[in-house]
Symmetry: C2
Amino acid sequence: MASGCSELESAIEILVRKFYDYAKRKGKNDKMNKKEFREMVAKELPHVLTNTQNKEAANKLIQSLDLDEDGKISFDEYWTLIGEIALKLSQQMAMQYQERH
Amino acid sequence: MASGCSELESAIEILVRKFYDYAKRKGKNDKMNKKEFREMVAKELPHVLTNTQNKEAANKLIQSLDLDEDGKISFDEYWTLIGEIALKLSQQMAMQYQERH
């Protein structure tokens, strides 16, 4: 993405880049193994996952990996988690705006 | 979200907050009207939308609003656009990693 990105564009780029930062550590560059995913969650989502429902969402994803013999997470699966966190945060913000206005 | 967020958490928060920054301008706080959406796209996605395929994705969303008599965009619809941009960027990054390794 070009330099001088908007705040929104930079945020999208960070979310995508973080996936590859962890995925490239071992094995396939385009998938996170279970360990890489857990490292990502522990390091990159410490505050978000204090919320019980988001923690459940992450655990659900990890559990689904346990059933997978390869234990890999694709970008799509990673994005599902990001989307669940974003939706939860969106619901919180919507409530805040309702209270204010 | 708590202060001292990780880079990933801050990025998610920016993406969610930007939706409400535009949605709250007029009318319902939890939906963007067509004008708010176009302002958001023009200001927040200038580089991303130089890419033809992403531009098509945005136009497609806007066109679907044209058919909607209210012309509103919910958070879910906004997130669909963000997801399409992220997926495109992910495919570009995956190709870069394949070339390097």
